[in-house]
Symmetry: D2
Subunit: 343 residues, 4 copies
Amino acid sequence: MIKVGIIGGTGYTGVELLRILSRHPGIELGVITSRNEAGTAVADHFPSLRGVVDHDFVDPASAHLSDCDLVFSATPNGVAMEYARGLIEAGVRVIDIAADFRIKDKIIWERWYGMEHACPELLAESVYGLPELNRERIRDAYLVANPGCYPTAVILGLAPLLEDQCVDPANLIADAKSGVSGAGRSAKLGSLFTEAGDSLKAYAVGGHRHQPEIHQALAGLTTKDVGLTFVPHLAPMIRGIHATIYATATGSSQNFQDIFEKKYGAEPFVDVMPADQHPDTRSVRGSNLCRIAIHQPGGGDRLVVLSVIDNLVKGAAGQAVQNMNIMFGLDETMGLEMPPLLP
Amino acid sequence: MIKVGIIGGTGYTGVELLRILSRHPGIELGVITSRNEAGTAVADHFPSLRGVVDHDFVDPASAHLSDCDLVFSATPNGVAMEYARGLIEAGVRVIDIAADFRIKDKIIWERWYGMEHACPELLAESVYGLPELNRERIRDAYLVANPGCYPTAVILGLAPLLEDQCVDPANLIADAKSGVSGAGRSAKLGSLFTEAGDSLKAYAVGGHRHQPEIHQALAGLTTKDVGLTFVPHLAPMIRGIHATIYATATGSSQNFQDIFEKKYGAEPFVDVMPADQHPDTRSVRGSNLCRIAIHQPGGGDRLVVLSVIDNLVKGAAGQAVQNMNIMFGLDETMGLEMPPLLP
Amino acid sequence: MIKVGIIGGTGYTGVELLRILSRHPGIELGVITSRNEAGTAVADHFPSLRGVVDHDFVDPASAHLSDCDLVFSATPNGVAMEYARGLIEAGVRVIDIAADFRIKDKIIWERWYGMEHACPELLAESVYGLPELNRERIRDAYLVANPGCYPTAVILGLAPLLEDQCVDPANLIADAKSGVSGAGRSAKLGSLFTEAGDSLKAYAVGGHRHQPEIHQALAGLTTKDVGLTFVPHLAPMIRGIHATIYATATGSSQNFQDIFEKKYGAEPFVDVMPADQHPDTRSVRGSNLCRIAIHQPGGGDRLVVLSVIDNLVKGAAGQAVQNMNIMFGLDETMGLEMPPLLP
Amino acid sequence: MIKVGIIGGTGYTGVELLRILSRHPGIELGVITSRNEAGTAVADHFPSLRGVVDHDFVDPASAHLSDCDLVFSATPNGVAMEYARGLIEAGVRVIDIAADFRIKDKIIWERWYGMEHACPELLAESVYGLPELNRERIRDAYLVANPGCYPTAVILGLAPLLEDQCVDPANLIADAKSGVSGAGRSAKLGSLFTEAGDSLKAYAVGGHRHQPEIHQALAGLTTKDVGLTFVPHLAPMIRGIHATIYATATGSSQNFQDIFEKKYGAEPFVDVMPADQHPDTRSVRGSNLCRIAIHQPGGGDRLVVLSVIDNLVKGAAGQAVQNMNIMFGLDETMGLEMPPLLP
């Protein structure tokens, strides 16, 4: 049994991690920390976990995290970098679900996250935890940077095309729509039911933190320059990301459906739909799946890739558990077999 | 392994049954019938089940249902009564998730369902499948009438009070709010997103089919006359029922919290919340739980019981699986351990 | 032209007042105050008002409110009582849309609102601004306490029955469901899209501030003791209140439909639906209407009244404008003729 | 007073036309036809219009449409073309809110709409009713083809750039998101609350009827070849279209904000937001506005235009009334001054 700790268990990533881990046969849930809720029963904080999780939140100062084999960090950005070094030195492997170790370039990271990085040397050592691209490196990693939600959907939708060199990497567009849980469980005016409900808007068109993260991953798949326009939108739904990706085919005609099916045919958590279909976000709700469809409207050189995930599962807690399974030699799907909840 | 068949698998009860049964370790999924979708892959009909269920829908005429140990009937009302007798004679046990066998009195059934009953003799023999009230009789039943969604929430909310004889059974009110999935997966104008969305209304205030079903169950718990006003409402949510139940306490003061905790303390699927709490429907989303809170505002004689379920799980497919587990001597919670999906 | 000021224009009542007043032909919009947003253009704060309202928010300290004929107070509770006396002495009439002057009994007010009342002598002088009950007194009032949203729906649904003495006033239940805008435009966790969405719950079953407000109004309509159980619910919609009211008929049978039609036949903003109909909240969205239906299920002595309003219009800003029209001798419907927005 | 008739008043365009026209001071509402609802009171069909519209639906066969000055056709596609010729010959001007006269090329129309056109000679004579592009021709038109909802948002978002020749017309992308009311008021499975709710999907990526309509309008603004990829999405909201438009700037740097402000500065129903802002669909809910923002992320050559409308107002009924006002020499904003409903 792998002994698991969670730092920062009071947000949506936390409750989702607990939902998944509570049914995972290969782990033992150790400590769950929260500075604000220390002493409170987890089940009082999240009534959905009454009878499911018996733990209390523990103050991080008194939590014996070094007894764990693995720690998930589900805190806001900028927290994991403060203690990751200590945990690793104590022999604890770490999966950071926030953004502290996703970007390799310290300068870029600091520009987008607006703070100084506390342990820049770990940026090089961390492994970007997208199993479909980095499975082998994840296996031996002691520090995994769990990808962002938008990046997961967009990178999985573009990787086969870039690897196959059949599109122009300089001319990519990702128009992404996210449910409101992507904004986290914090009391922000723009996330109110009355503000986000029955409405849709783009945001951060001038620049979003996930753009450099996606750019870095795509750049690793091609020797050419990558040019990516990324526009996120807030949609009136709780969970789900729908990325609509536009690319321009180069060279002679290809069977793009085949390219996707070959790339992902053996992947347990990527489902390539048959030609001409359209995935909806609810078809992956509550599951660790990324569902993808590839279109070539009118047979022209413009390709349209549709890629959907549940932002809290494949875009956060589920992918973190998938990474854990890989790191500890478990069946990669362990604890992640739940079918989507529909309707 | 119990061999299971499903008649009528194209509705929301069907997809929910398949979601649950696909992860149930004690059963083998045999045939799934559909008159309209025969020959279609289940996963084409419900993309959420791609990679989860490999079956095709089979025409009921050619389905070998008599090879099954158990058949779930997930059809519209009036269908199960046509073939239940034949299945039972072939040694197949039947759980009807529709309403054909819920009401014991043929006259009342025919008045509310607007058709002649095809096998009235089975009305007496069928067992009302509410495990918290009828567990022992369900164990040996060959025909189980799975309760309606509203009745499940309301009866569980009132049973402890009636059994304890501490409220006036002649003066009960159940004000119930349901998500739109309660109306089923059929193209009705009133169920459109544009009609049911961002709005709330009562319906069938003059009379609803679930009123006599609830009345019958409550009448079985008391020797006095039962008087129940039942008002259903349509709320703009997908899943969930919230029953707000009003009763009048009789006699000297009692500890109502205790009464509920004693009644349900050992029940795996009924959660009595601590005093002064309010369950929300999402806290049981996707799970087989009924969560209940009991209030006595101002310490007066008016009691308010709040009872929430997921109408598709404890109110339909989940309770049907719970009944199956009881009928076949399996652990009652087998296949039903998934925690609620929140947010 | 009536010169109008608004104190506290940054909440939902504020934006709704501005939407209505911007099209009102009888008024001139003077000053709109906000402590936090002073200097900001109203249209920057509420993009829906771009091109509609040209004003900037003004700091209340420097606002010349005493130049106004009328001031609407759209602040949180406890603010209007601080300056109402001063405005009235300067000859300005005041409509408080918050709760400072709704309850006549200082002790009760202070218990429910958790603060000392700053000008208790005004409690007696203020007029409760429900035109259908108090039209004549509103006409000459210099201080109107605009009713709460729940009270508006519940009192209008019960008044005809109490005035007609045909129900037992000691045994009333109001089960009310509100959209999330009832919680105001403030960043509260429970009002997040991800918390309030796709879910429904009761709250404050033990006691809610609107209970004594409703009780006081009902007590004014009968000489007998009033007993009211009031249970509010949060529903996943933006606007709208649906009150489902239960009462017990006394004496010989009556035509309750007639009673309502007689009471409200001449009212411009109360619509009594034909028998057996069910109003939905969206049928009054954006309008100043209260739509009511009266049911007598099975012809028994239990009556069920369904009463719907838009909580921001008839439950707040619209009713305030209706009161203003009455106070200043304008056509009562002026500026309030917009039909509901459906779908 | 202009005498107005409506053919096909039972859909969402119908109820929205009636909402607007009921408050329009320059018209007299004559006849409203419906084949299915003839004899029914409009207010029974749409309770939101109780007390607002007193008419009954009339069978089209017996409706005296030729007495009208103007007829709005709010029927499904393929109906207006059957009677438009007759009305025009009787001296009645016609605004078709459906698609029968939007596409000039009969071959293209018939390919996309799957039927033979009944009066192809009118295709040339009809005027495309987008006032911001065609105001002068609309003034004298006897047959106006009211634009589709997606085309309105997309064309208004691209017109300034194409007219100014500052983008490459061969490389345009419109990623558009629509509320469910765009699918009309008909009982379709995919429009159910339980199917479209809490989910988002693209549809018709292979080709959508609005693509040739948009293409035709854009082609009229440039002498070069137009290449447009158009991908519509269904979003879980009732009203609203959000078009996110991608174009590539050509030539030296320009002030794109200026280009939009110059083009639309005098337009009553197009609001160009200040730089760096993001319109949300709710900011135009219930109003005839199109709100636009122009972005140039990172100062590169990729432009992103955000364009939002209410699909039932500026995308249908409101624009039809705007066209009527122009055709009859009324103030263009008459009856259309209602501010958006927010929240």
